[in-house]
Amino acid sequence: MRGIVRVSSRIAHRLLASLPALVGVLVFTFLLMRVLPGDPAVFFASSPTAGPEEIQQIRVSMGLDRSIPEQLVLYLRDVLTGNLGRSMSTGQPVATDLAQRLPASLELTLAALVLALACAIPLGVMAALRPGSAVDHGVRLLCSIGVCAPTFVCGLVLIYVFYVVLGIAPDPTGRIGAFDAPPPDITGLLLVDYALVGDFESWLSAVSQLILPAVTMALFVLAPLARMTRASMLIALGSDFIRTARSVGLPPFKVIVGYGLRNALLPIITITGVVFSTMLGANVLVEKVFAWPGVGSYALDALVSSDYAPVQGFVLLMAMIFVVVNLTIDTLYGFADPRVSLR
């Protein structure tokens, strides 16, 4: 009981401590959007020939006629009350848009992350066990390819091979198969929702929609994960306690996984957190290539059309996710290493 209180008070403390950063992000994005060239009023005027009066009218309706500090105060007040503004392009409140699109990005990112970890950790461990061997060089080559090839190139190649040539992948258009009905909106994660209602045919088709974009994303982050695994495994395997474990005759699997990998986990967890945050927000290209209805492509569209509110809402969302991810990582440290909780 006391442990729970301590952990939750630590979490609360950390969340409070992240508030200034969130406010900073809000103000910074707000100012950045105002500094970028482009006038949203012109963009959203009904026709290219709209007169100055009409544009001025739109400007007033958007609150753009006020001074920038005034706009900022109004904006902060809105955010505090949970109102992120309205998107000019979709006509919906930004909060609703994001809530609809975030699960798609989350599902894709999580799938890609699991896939990447499932490949990267064994590859990294194998490379660390025989540094300088053919396996090590093979892993290095694979990682280099993953990093060098831009994600959209990878994505397009995968589409070409599996959809165009082999014809085993479905149309690379969105999350739901062409002949499937969308599931009831329970969690927003398609795989979970289909499984919950027991529609396994649609579940399979959703998986097949997910595989190519997830592989594309996973390839991109394979390199940092595998390299970090290799490096921290090398350090762990070189330490004295591994020598001790071998000197008392522990079986090789126990030595490598139970003693080595368990000790090498800390840096891997760190890099996983960084990779996760990056994938969620920055892999716009994958969402574009596969017409994936995620938050990244939504924010990009808004940015191009100088639609302030969605961009600001997106950045705030990303900042909040970052805070949560970091908190999760820190909590995981506590499980991975008993010494951490002391600090």
């Binding site: 474990a245 000197s247 008392v248 522990l250 290493d337």
Partner: protein, 555 residues
């Protein structure tokens, strides 16, 4: 079946390095009957650890047994597969390592680690494993075993970790135990407890013991036979009394001479030929010298924990004062406070009549007394900037503390310092990794005397060095003091070294002064129980000391 527990015949071990093959062990042979104890002594690089790893086939990837044979009860270990060898490790041959805390898995509770070892060599139920582990913990004289079972290595002291390491090593009842510098880095009193425990366990269970150590005293106290190794070969081997009583080989004689004992002097340590390089200057007259440093009622708290409480001592110009005590006694904290690298909690420090205790440690760099108080750090390998040449290292304090020194003057001063510590001028352009341990120690000293200080704080300056190098460095320090009129504040856990080098000593325990006085008095007629315990724990091969510990081991 051979009657030899282990027999090593003409063993050669090579390492492939970037600079080509290195022969670490070059044709050594020895055997051990069950229950015998063999001490393998030698300085770093003599191949003694490599021999141990070759026996258990735990050499690095780069190392390889190039020829020769290791047999365990007549069974050639070289012909076994890796899986067969794994089954022998722990159940037939076990090892105990240096630095016990690092040798245990930091994120697994220690009881579980012992259970892992049991699990690797037999089928026990969980309850049996636990019962057996608790019994092993009791066997190594730990109390409160239930709590220790659940503890992680970082929650236990070094001595406790080493006992757990011993429990781990004997868990599957091996016939041979190899202890590789098992007590190096532990306090003398802890070392005594651990070694007494180890030797009684070995005797009880009829195990053979190979004790690898650089400490001749330790080997003499706990082993029946001694093998002296040098450059991958055994130069001399025999019963302990023969080796220490009548050493035949020149190297054995040198090693024995260089090891500080209860009655040696600094002049004894260095062989005749090398001693001439330091023409002994006339000793300085110390009595009546002005007071240099006065520490009154010094205290230091670290977040509520009193590391130093109410310590007072004085130091006259040209005098040498030793601070001795176990780890945690506060001796290093005091040395850091006096050097003004750390701020005190309470008390006064006056240097040459001026109070320096009030100057914050972060500002002391610009204080004029900075030049006058310099420090020589413990580890000569770690305390040099790897990107600085020897010249830069020595010139660094001059550049920062005497800023306007012209170039020629700087060169002259650096060369002069190098010369005073006997560091060859032609090596000044080298980087630390291109120098030997003794040469690095000399740079550390040259750097400290570069600004011509009047007080030198020496924080275990020879703890990381081999005995023969230590002997030369001690000799050098002693000469520097006598010719330069330097005062020393010498921090060490090695009582013999302190006795030789210091006029007076302060014995510390848990941050408090237990005893203080002239070195000869404190060491010959200690008045406190604690000092007596410390003195008795020092292993020694001088035979008077040996006679005292022949009595059955009590723990």
């Amino acid at each position: 079946m051979s009657e030899h527990l282990i027999s090593v015949t003409d063993l050669h071990v090579g390492f492939s390095t970037r600079r080509g093959a290195v022969k670490a062990v070059r044709g050594i042979s020895f055997e051990l009957v069950p229950g015998a104890t063999l001490g393998v002594v030698g300085e770093s690089g003599s191949g003694k650890s490599v021999t141990a790893y070759a026996i258990t086939r735990l050499l690095d990837r780069a190392g390889e047994i190039t020829s020769g044979q290791v047999s365990y009860f007549g069974r050639n270990l070289g012909s076994l597969t890796e899986a067969e060898m794994r089954r022998l490790r722990g159940s037939a041959i076990s090892m105990i390592f240096q630095n016990p805390r690092a040798a245990l898995n930091p994120i697994r509770c220690v009881g579980q680690q012992i259970a892992d070892a049991l699990n690797a060599h037999g089928r026990l139920t969980r309850a049996e494993q636990r019962e057996r582990t608790l019994q092993l913990l009791r066997d190594v004289m730990l109390t409160d075993v239930e709590r220790i079972f659940r503890s992680y290595p970082h929650e236990l002291s070094g001595g406790m970790c080493q006992r757990i390491m011993i429990a781990l090593a004997i868990a599957c009842e091996p016939k041979l135990l190899i202890a590789d510098e098992a007590t190096t880095g532990l306090d003398v009193t802890t070392q005594k407890v651990v070694m007494d425990l180890l030797s009684s366990l070995v005797a009880e269970r009829g195990m053979g013991l190979i004790l690898i150590t650089h400490d001749l005293g330790l080997a003499a106290r706990y082993c029946g036979e001694i093998a002296v190794m040098r450059e991958g070969q055994i130069v001399e081997k025999g019963a302990v009394d023969t080796i220490f009583g009548h050493p035949r080989h020149e190297y054995t004689k040198r090693l024995i001479a260089a090891s500080p004992t209860a009655d040696s002097t600094i002049e004894d340590l260095v062989p005749e030929g090398e001693a001439e390089r330091f023409a002994a200057p006339a000793p300085m007259k110390v009595s009546g010298a002005p007071l240099l440093l006065e520490v009154r009622n010094l205290s230091k708290n670290f977040s509520g924990f009193a590391a130093v409480s109410d310590v007072s001592f004085t130091l006259a110009a040209g005098e040498s004062l030793g601070l001795v005590g176990e780890s945690g006694s506060g001796k290093s904290t005091i040395s850091r406070i006096v050097t003004r690298l750390l701020d005190k909690t309470a008390g006064e420090i006056s240097f040459k009549g001026e109070s320096i205790g009030e100057v914050p440690a972060t500002r002391f760099n610009s204080h004029r007394a900075r030049r006058d108080i310099q420090i020589v750090f413990q580890d000569p390998h770690e305390s040099l900037n790897p990107r600085y040449t020897a010249f830069d290292s020595i010139a660094h304090p001059l550049r920062t503390l005497e800023k306007s020194l012209p170039r020629e003057e700087l060169n002259r001063r650096v060369r002069e310092c190098a010369d005073r510590v006997g560091f060859p001028a032609e090596l000044l352009t080298r980087f630390p990794h291109q120098l030997s341990g003794g040469q690095k120690a000399r740079i550390g000293i040259a750097r400290a005397i570069a600004t011509r200080p009047s007080l030198l704080v020496l924080d275990e300056p020879t703890a990381a060095l081999d005995v023969s190098v230590q002997a030369i460095v001690l000799r050098l320090l002693d000469n520097l003091r006598k010719e330069g009129g330097l005062a020393f504040l010498f921090v060490s856990h090695d009582l013999n070294v302190v006795r030789m080098l210091c006029d007076r000593v302060v014995v510390l325990q848990a941050g408090k002064v237990v005893e203080a006085g002239r070195a000869a008095d404190v060491f010959m007629k200690p008045t406190s129980e604690y000092t007596r315990t410390l003195l008795q724990a020092v292993p020694s091969f001088s035979f008077r000391a040996r006679a005292k510990v022949e009595s059955p081991v009590e723990i």
